[in-house]
C-alpha cells in the first residue's frame, strides 16, 4: 500500500453532471481526513458504458485517458462502486496481454478505492464530520458489493454518527434495476425492479435511503417520486457523511 497522501478524486461523469454536491462532499471528506486531493481537470468518463455494451474500442480509449490522468496519484478514490469497480476489476481485462499498458493499469487498479472503503480502511476515519438525524436504510449497489466487497464500510461509518439509526430493508443486496443502458432498453422491466426496491424501502420504515452510486440513486429516486412518494429522501453516502445533505 502506498504511503503518500495524494488522492486523485475521480468525480465520475454522473456526479459531475447530475449531483455536483456529492463531488464536493467527497472532497470535503478526503481533505478532512488529512489528504491532499487532486481533481484532474480533464477527467470525464471511465468508459464503463462502452465496456458494458460491447463497444470495447471506446471503453479502451477512455481507459487510457483516465490512466494517464490518475497514475501519478498515490490513490484514486471515486464516490461510486461501479466506476471504481470498472477501474479495479475490468481495466485489467480491457488491457489483457499488453505488457506495458497492463502493468500501468494494474498499478492504478491496485490503488483505486471506493470512497467509503477508503475512508474506513485507509483514512481510518473515526468520526464523520456530518450531522444527521433520522433512520437510514442502506441499498447495496451491485458493483460495489460484489466486485469490491463494499458492504459493512458505509454502514460502519454511518453507525458512528450520533443521530443515525440504521434499519435494514429486505433484499438490500438485490439490484434496483438500473443496469446502465438496461434501464432504457428494458425500461418496463427496469421500472418493475425499481418498484420492488421501493416497496422494500417503504417497508423498512426508514425515512431516508442511502446508497453509494448515482445510477441507483437516480433510478430509485425517480421511481419513488413516480409512485407518489415525495417524503422518502434519497441520499448519497458521501452527502450524509460530510453533512452536505441539506
Amino acid at each position: 500500500m502506498p504511503s503518500g497522501r495524494r488522492v486523485g478524486l475521480f468525480v465520475t461523469c454522473l456526479v459531475d453532471m447530475m449531483r455536483p454536491r456529492i463531488g464536493f462532499a467527497a472532497l470535503k471528506l478526503l481533505q478532512g481526513a488529512g489528504f491532499e486531493v487532486l481533481v484532474p481537470p480533464a477527467q470525464t468518463c471511465c468508459g464503463q458504458p462502452g465496456w458494458n455494451s460491447g463497444e470495447r474500442g471506446s471503453a479502451r480509449a477512455l481507459a487510457e485517458k483516465l490512466v494517464g490522468e490518475f497514475e501519478r496519484c498515490d490513490y484514486l478514490v471515486a464516490p461510486s462502486g461501479s466506476c471504481s469497480g470498472m477501474i479495479k476489476t475490468h481495466y485489467p481485462a480491457l488491457f489483457q496481454g499488453e505488457g506495458a499498458w497492463l502493468a500501468r493499469v494494474e498499478a492504478l487498479a491496485a490503488k483505486t478505492w471506493e470512497l467509503t472503503d477508503f475512508l474506513l480502511n485507509v483514512a481510518r476515519l473515526d468520526l464523520p464530520p456530518g450531522r444527521f438525524r433520522g433512520t437510514i436504510t442502506y441499498h447495496d449497489s451491485c458493483a460495489g458489493l460484489r466486485e469490491l466487497g463494499v458492504k459493512q464500510q458505509p454502514r460502519r461509518l454511518l453507525a458512528r454518527m450520533p443521530g443515525v439509526a440504521l434499519a435494514e430493508m429486505k433484499d438490500s443486496e438485490t439490484c434496483c434495476g438500473f443496469g446502465g443502458t438496461f434501464s432504457i432498453k428494458f425500461g418496463e422491466i427496469s421500472a418493475a425492479m425499481a418498484e420492488t426496491k421501493c416497496e422494500n424501502i417503504a417497508a423498512s420504515g426508514a425515512g431516508t435511503v442511502v446508497l453509494g452510486d448515482l445510477g441507483c440513486m437516480l433510478n430509485i429516486e425517480g421511481r419513488l417520486r413516480r409512485r407518489g412518494d415525495e417524503a422518502t429522501r434519497v441520499l448519497h453516502v458521501a452527502e450524509v457523511l460530510a453533512g452536505e445533505s441539506d
Binding site: V11, N52, G54, R146
Partner: protein, 470 residues
Amino acid sequence: MRIQSMQFKARAHGALADAKLQSVMRRFGSGFVDKRAAAREAYGVEAFEGLRDASAAIRDRGLANLDAWLLRFEEQATRAGTTVLWARDAAEIRRHVLEICARHGLRKAIKSKSMVSEEAGLNEALEASGVTPVETDLGEYIIQLAKEPPSHIIAPAIHKDKEQVSDLFAEHHHRPRLTDTEALTREAREMLRGHFLSADLGISGGNFLVAETGSVAIVTNEGNGRMVTTLPKVHVAITGIEKVIPTLEDLSTLNRVLPRSATGQEIENYFTIVTGPRRVGDLDGPEHMYVILVDAGRTRLVGSDMQQMLRCIRCGACMNHCPVFQTVGGHAYGWVYPGPMGSVLTPVYNGLENALDLPQAATLCGACEVACPVKIPLPELLRTLRERQMQAGLRPWRERAGFRLWAFAAKRPRLYALATAIGVRVLKLMGGAKGRITKLPLGSGWTLGRDMPAPEGRTFRELYAARRRR
C-alpha cells in the same frame, strides 16, 4: 423446441401485465435464495466457497479432455451393457429415440425431467409417431397437461399457482376439484402409478456421466427418476456431452454442491447411479439401456471464449438469484433455458441473431456469478456476447453511434465540458420547480415508469473551477 427469444420484450411485457404470474413470481422471489443461503451457512461459508472452487476445477478437468473422457465413458458403459449413441443435433436425438421405439415395439414412454429432450422437442416427435409420452416429474406433469414449456430448469411449473393446478387436474383427471396441496399431489401420484406400470420405455436425462464406470447419475426429489430407470423394458438416458466427469470421487464432490445450490437441500431425496441394464440375478432394471450423448452446439464452445459455460450443472441457482428472472419469469426468455445461463446458451446454441435481447436483458448485477456452484463468470460471458453483437453489426446503428459519440466527446475535455454544461442547463429547465423530468425525448424507456431527477444545473467541473478562482 421452437425458439421465440426474439420476442423477449413482448413476452416480458405480457409477464408484467399478468397479475397471477406476478403474484406467483413475488412469492418465488427469495424462496430458493434464502434456502441456498441457509445451506451454505450450515455447511460453513468458507468450506462452501472451497467446494465451489473444487467443483469448478472438476468441471474444467473434464472439459479440458472432453473427447478422451467421453470415449472412456463409452468404453465403460458399453462394457456394462449400455448402448451408447451419439447425436449431432436435435434431429438426431429424435431419430435415435424413434428408432429405439421401432426396434423394441415401444408404445408408451414415462419420462423423468430432461431439458435436453426439451431442446429436441422429443414429446411432439413421440406423439407424432404413435408413442405416448408421460412426464412424471410433478412440475413437468402439470405443464404437460397445460401444454406449456417449462419456465424453470428445476421447477418447471413455478409459474403456476395452486388454483391453476386444481383446475388442470379437475379438467384432465375428470375427478372432483381438489384444493389441498397434499391431496393434489396424491391425486397426481395415483394417476401416474398406472403409467409407471404400463410404460415400456423410460426416458431420463442425466445429471452427470461418470467416465471411469460408464454410469449415469440422476438426482430427483420425487423418486420418479428411479421408477423411470428401473420399471420399463427399455431405458434411454439423454444428456449433453459436457456432463461427463472423470471419477466417482468427482461425483461425490459435485453432489454436495448441486442440491445445496439448487434448492438448499443437503442431499436430494433420490440419488440414482445407473450402470448398464439389468444383469443376471438383478431384482429390477431394464432389459436394454441406451445413452444418447448430445452435441447440439456444445463442441462449438470447446476452446472458445464461451467454454466456461460448459461447466454448468443445471442447478438453477443463477435464475433463482436473477432479479430480471424474478420479475418476468422464465417463459419470457423464449427457449428451453431461461435466466442468466439461458441468456448465454440460447444465442450460442441457436445463433446470436436469434436471441438479440437476451445478452442485453441483464443488469450485470453479478448475483448469478456469486451463486453459481461452478463459478461460471456469467456477467463476463454476457458482456462478451454483447461485444460479438456489436462486432457483427447486430446492434441498431443509433446505439453504436451513441456510444461512439459519447467516447468522441469524453476524449475531448473542452468539447465535453461545453456539451455537458449546456446539457445540464437544459435538463434543469426541463425539470421545472419540482426538479424532475417526467418525459425524456431520447429516454422514453426511462420515463415510462420513472421520473428522471433533474441535475443541479451546473457541472462539478464548472463549480470546482469557480471555487478555485476565488
